[in-house]
Amino acid sequence: DVKVTQSSRYLVKRTGEKVFLECVQDMDHENMFWYRQDPGLGLRLIYFSYDVKMKEKGDIPEGYSVSREKKERFSLILESASTNQTSMYLCASSLLGYEQYFGPGTRLTVT
C-alpha cells in the first residue's frame, strides 16, 4: 500500500514564525504536491514537484516556498506565517499520469 505521511496532524504557530511542513512518501513516486483546503474555497494547489530539486508553482504559491532534496520528501515552508495561512494542508504523491495518494493532513493555526 502507498503510504504518505505528514510530520504533524495539528500545529499552532505565531504570526511571523518560519514554519516547516514535511511530507514523506514510500512508493518512489516522482510527483509530489502540496494543497491547502479552506471552507468555501475547496482544495487549491500551492506547489508541486516532478523530480528532485524541481518545483513548479501551483495556483496559490504566494507566501510559500518548497524544498525537495530527496525523492521521498517534499517540504512546504511558510517563511513568515500569517493568520491568513491558517488552513488544512494536504500533501500528495503520484507516479506521472497516475492517481494521487494523500497524506492525513496538517491543521495549521497561526495566531
Binding site: 483546503q37 499520469g97 492525513p104 493532513g105 491543521r107
Partner: protein, 107 residues
Amino acid sequence: GIQVEQSPPDLILQEGANSTLRCNFSDSVNNLQWFHQNPWGQLINLFYIPSGTKQNGRLSATTVATERYSLLYISSSQTTDSGVYFCAVDPGGKLIFGQGTTLQVKP
C-alpha cells in the same frame, strides 16, 4: 481553465438507501479520481476512473469521458459513508477538484 461541478452539494439519507453523486467537467481530461474525506480530514482514494465502470463493494463509479461526466453510486448506505465526496480531474499533470458533495447518513 477547466471547471468541475459536483451535484448535489448536500445529501441526507437514511441508512440502507442508495444514492448517486454526479461530477461534470468542462473539457477533456486524462484522468479522474473520486475521494472520500473522512471526519479527520484525510482524503481516501475511492476510484481512479478515466473512463468506463468500476466497482468496489457497495460503491461503483462510471465515467463517460466523451460526455464529460462521472457518476459515483453508493448502495445500501451506512453511517460510516458520511463525509465529503470529491471528484478531481487531471487535464495534464495536476488535479482540479470539485467543491464536493456532503453526505450525511442517518441511522
